[in-house]
């Protein structure tokens, strides 16, 4: 099944002094998120940014892919604590994404967990979509 997910942003003014707001998304789960260029390129000051939203997307997608891979290998995870850190270099773009996971997975050894995490990192749809990011790293640990 194909799924479409939509997000709407309203922007007022120019880039440097203007601001925007993430207004509506398909699910209604998030909205009213303020964004601005200074918050994106300097101190966030309580505002989210495209990079932070990508980080949320990537950590979520990676967690889903890893949970699936582990379950298929007979090691359903109790808990996967995942994070993605997206590095933005103004003028250059998104230069790096660092994935990290700490897993509570009964009966798996560190090598097998590392392998499953590598698989998820390579194959989750968001990783695939972001394949042209110059650097994608992974730190996988068992709790």
């Amino acid at each position: 099944m194909t799924t479409d997910r939509r997000a709407e942003v309203v922007w007022q003014g120019d880039l440097m002094s203007g601001s925007g707001r993430v207004e509506n998304v398909t699910s209604g789960a998030i909205g009213g998120l303020d964004v601005s260029w200074p918050a994106r390129s300097e101190d966030p000051g309580g505002k989210t940014s495209p990079e932070e939203l990508i980080a949320a997307a990537h950590a979520t997608c990676f967690a889903m892919a890893l949970s699936h891979g582990l379950a298929e290998a007979g090691h359903t995870a109790d808990q996967l604590e995942t994070s993605a850190t997206v590095t933005f270099q103004p003028g250059e773009g998104i230069t790096k994404i660092a994935l990290a996971v700490e897993g509570k997975v009964p009966g798996i050894d560190a090598d097998a967990f590392q392998q499953a995490a590598e698989q998820a990192k390579e194959n989750c749809p968001v990783s695939k979509a972001l394949a042209s990011v110059p650097e994608l790293t992974l730190d996988a640990q068992l709790a």
Partner: protein, 90 residues
């Protein structure tokens, strides 16, 4: 942000811009899933600008947007535009 930057450079700092992105996830060969497309719609109120000009800005913004560049490596990005109260409103 990229579009706001393009418009500001053209002296259109007071623009009101609404952008929606629809991201499509599809099942591909082998049963795996892939983000295959991002469809952008840019609607704006800009002083003294006709539709063709706004469309050029929207495409320039897409060219300069880091995220568009990433998606384009493996999927498609399409941009459509709508102008409210533009110079060609009739």
């Amino acid at each position: 942000m990229s579009l706001a930057g393009e418009l500001a450079q053209a002296g259109q700092a007071a623009a009101h811009v609404e952008v929606t992105a629809t991201v499509t996830l599809d099942e591909v060969e082998g049963g795996s899933h892939r983000i295959v497309a991002s469809t952008l719609l840019a609607r704006a109120r800009v002083q003294d600008m006709d539709k063709a000009e706004f469309e050029r800005f929207a495409h320039a913004a897409d060219e300069g947007c880091p995220f568009s560049a990433l998606i384009k490596a493996t999927g498609t990005v399409t941009v459509t535009t709508e102008l409210e109260g533009g110079a060609d409103d009739d």
